[in-house]
């Protein structure tokens, strides 16, 4: 069995400037943050992101100037930060290209890609401006073959007159990066708790990179094949990164870091403070281990999940703003 284990810097180096990319997780959970910091450290440019409900993973990439175009449904950390501050500023300043879909819309698009279909039908979005308006122009769409030529299409069901369906185009990305609880060296993956849309995001990517809290044995993983997320061929590379989603939560491993999230959102509101944040946590540290050292062992300890709950029941979570 060939080992798919590689290092974090090596994994991030696989992603060229301008690549299409989706990242796993949902708002404030299980984003591959160690990988994101490494992308920033390696000064990636012109990334083209596809996502449903990203959070600070996208926000910090956008703020660091790594992103050119996004297709998305939502960009915030929910109660930890009700707007992605750098996303907001990038849109308002005209520094980013984007297209809006609904969350179900983006999920449908990933699902179509995973299923090997050019589109899937849905019943959502009719009557909305998500349906009626387009952020990307026809010229922008035509100029990049990786953007669907149409935002969407409408058909009448051939099985019932008058029954309208919205067809949404499949997503295909060059890369997908997930952060998961458990993986084997061979690339088998187990997600605990909700899967979000990680499985379908992975299945519509050419190259899937997984960062994992824990590397487990092949025998352990194969004892419960019902819990494996993806077929063996889906994952190209595995990186072992404990705490790899900090400051976000990983069910059964650690909780959200409310303090770090507050600091991020405060900093990201002000250009200079955001640069200082990047300096302190990304550019100023050579790697993710050093990042964790800056955060501090005591803080990380306080986030560790109680096995009874899968999170830290005594964590001080009250909104610190």
């Amino acid at each position: 069995m060939t080992s798919k284990l590689i290092g974090l810097a090596e994994a991030a180096a696989l992603v060229p400037d301008g690549a299409t990319l989706s990242l796993g997780g949902f708002t404030a959970q299980r984003h591959p943050m160690a990988f994101v910091y490494e992308l920033i450290r390696q000064k990636k440019r012109d990334l083209y992101l596809f996502g449903h409900s990203p959070g600070g993973d996208w926000d910090i990439l956008i703020g660091a100037g790594c992103v050119k175009r996004v297709e998305l449904a939502y960009e915030a950390d929910e109660a930890f930060g009700t707007i992605g501050p750098r996303w907001r500023r990038a849109v308002q300043a005209g520094r980013i290209e984007w297209e809006d879909y609904s969350n179900f819309g983006m999920v449908t698009r990933f699902q179509a890609g995973a299923m090997g279909l050019p589109f899937l039908p849905t019943r959502t979005a009719f009557g909305s401006d998500v349906f009626a308006k387009q952020a990307l122009t026809a010229e922008q769409r035509a100029a990049d073959p990786r953007t669907s030529p149409l935002k969407q299409a409408v058909i009448e069901s051939p099985f019932q007159a008058g029954d309208k369906l919205l067809l949404l185009p499949a997503i295909h990305t060059e890369f997908c990066v997930l952060h998961v609880q458990k993986a084997t060296e061979s690339g088998l993956v187990r997600v605990e708790g909700q899967t979000f849309a990680d499985n379908i995001q992975a299945l519509c990517a050419d190259t899937v990179i997984v960062t994992a809290e824990e590397i487990v044995s092949e025998d352990f993983m194969r004892q419960e094949p019902e819990r494996t997320l993806l077929p063996p061929f889906a994952v190209a590379h595995v990186v072992h990164v404990p705490f790899g989603s900090h400051p976000y939560a990983v069910y059964n491993y650690y909780d959200h870091d409310p303090r770090q999230l507050k600091d991020y959102h405060a900093a990201a509101m002000i250009d200079e403070d955001f640069q200082s944040y990047l300096e302190k946590y990304v550019y100023g540290v050579p790697d993710f281990e050093s990042y964790l050292a800056v955060v501090g062992a005591a803080r990380l300890d306080s986030l560790k999940a109680d096995p009874e709950y899968g999170y830290s029941p005594n964590l001080k979570r009250r909104r610190l703003d």
């Binding site: 997780g25 949902f26 708002t27 404030a28 959970q29 299980r30 409900s53 998305l72 449904a73 939502y74 960009e75 915030a76 950390d77 109660a79 707007i83 992605g84 996303w87 907001r88 849109v91 308002q92 005209g94 809006d100 879909y101 609904s102 969350n103 179900f104 819309g105 999920v107 449908t108 849905t122 019943r123 959502t124 979005a125 009719f126 009557g127 909305s128 401006d129 998500v130 009626a132 308006k133 952020a135 409408v154 919205l166 708790g193 909700q194 899967t195 849309a197 379908i200 939560a249 069910y251 059964n252 909780d255 959200h256 709950y309 899968g310 999170y311 029941p313 979570r317 009250r318 909104r319």
Partner: protein
């Protein structure tokens, strides 16, 4: 929040709104809950009059038995004791689109008199003065739940005659326009605001003031509304019971994460 000796006698606006939202949930209903007030409301309903309501979170946890209040619909707290942990595709297709969700909660920055909601941006869509997170699942809940409960900040500029972008379709232009647009079910049933409760007329689907919160008058509320608001049928919003407040404060949100 003011601390008082007899908690049944006083309550915060957040508490009133959470209780009002909770009362919109019937027992045995399937509830699609978002972060914040909807979670307070759903958890309160589950622990009072609707013990068998089934709470679904967009990120994949279904039938959660919440022990601690989540801060995200993807929070690990939604998983513990859940009936099922899946993903967004399963929740959106097998539950929401398949018509299994009775009531969904949504909110936004702007709402018009037909319950259309904007959570995308202010000003010109292509060059917005303020950009928000975007739809998330709100558009989908608005389109596909059997009915929606809207939570809103009641200010004149947030309830304008015309909103800048329809993220989540309500009754669109009223009448049959929602159905004509291609939506096969649903529509807003109520708007719980910081000043009162709005409901919708059966045929025109126009919002009217059903109740104003204690301490206000129908006139107060109308003045703070950007569209013409019919207040003919308005009465005072029923206040929380001592039991509801007790559960809200001691069981639902003892950490005071969302309660103020």
């Amino acid at each position: 929040m003011t601390t008082v000796s007899n908690p049944a006698l006083t309550y915060s606006l957040t508490e009133l709104m959470a209780v009002t939202a909770a009362r919109e949930i019937q027992d045995n209903e399937v509830v699609f809950a978002g972060t914040g007030l909807p979670m307070l409301g759903a958890m309160l309903a589950q622990k009072t009059h609707a013990p068998n309501c089934l709470v679904i979170f967009e990120a994949g946890a279904i039938g959660s038995r919440l022990r601690h209040l989540p801060m995200s619909v993807g929070d690990p707290r939604t998983v513990r004791g859940a009936a099922l942990a899946a993903g967004l595709a399963e929740v959106f297709t097998y539950m929401l689109q398949a018509g299994k969700v009775d009531v969904g909660f949504i909110s936004g920055a702007q709402i018009d008199r037909f319950g259309n909601i904007n959570s995308t941006s202010m000003g010109d869509y292509h060059h917005p003065s303020v950009r928000f997170p975007g739809s998330g699942g709100s558009c989908d809940i608005a389109c596909l739940a059997k009915r929606t409960v809207i939570i809103a900040q009641h200010e004149k500029r947030r309830l304008p005659e015309k909103i800048d972008y329809i993220t989540s379709p309500g009754w669109l232009n009223g009448g049959e326009s929602r159905k004509e647009a291609g939506l096969i079910r649903g529509g807003p049933s109520v708007v719980v605001t910081t000043r009162g409760v709005l409901r919708f007329r059966p045929t025109s689907h126009e919002a009217y003031l059903a109740s104003y919160h204690p301490g206000l008058t129908a006139e107060n509320v109308r003045e703070e509304t950007g569209f013409m608001l019919d207040t003919a049928d308005a009465s005072e919003t029923p206040i929380p019971t001592a039991e509801e407040l007790h559960i809200l404060r001691n069981v639902v949100d003892p950490e005071r994460i969302f309660l103020k």
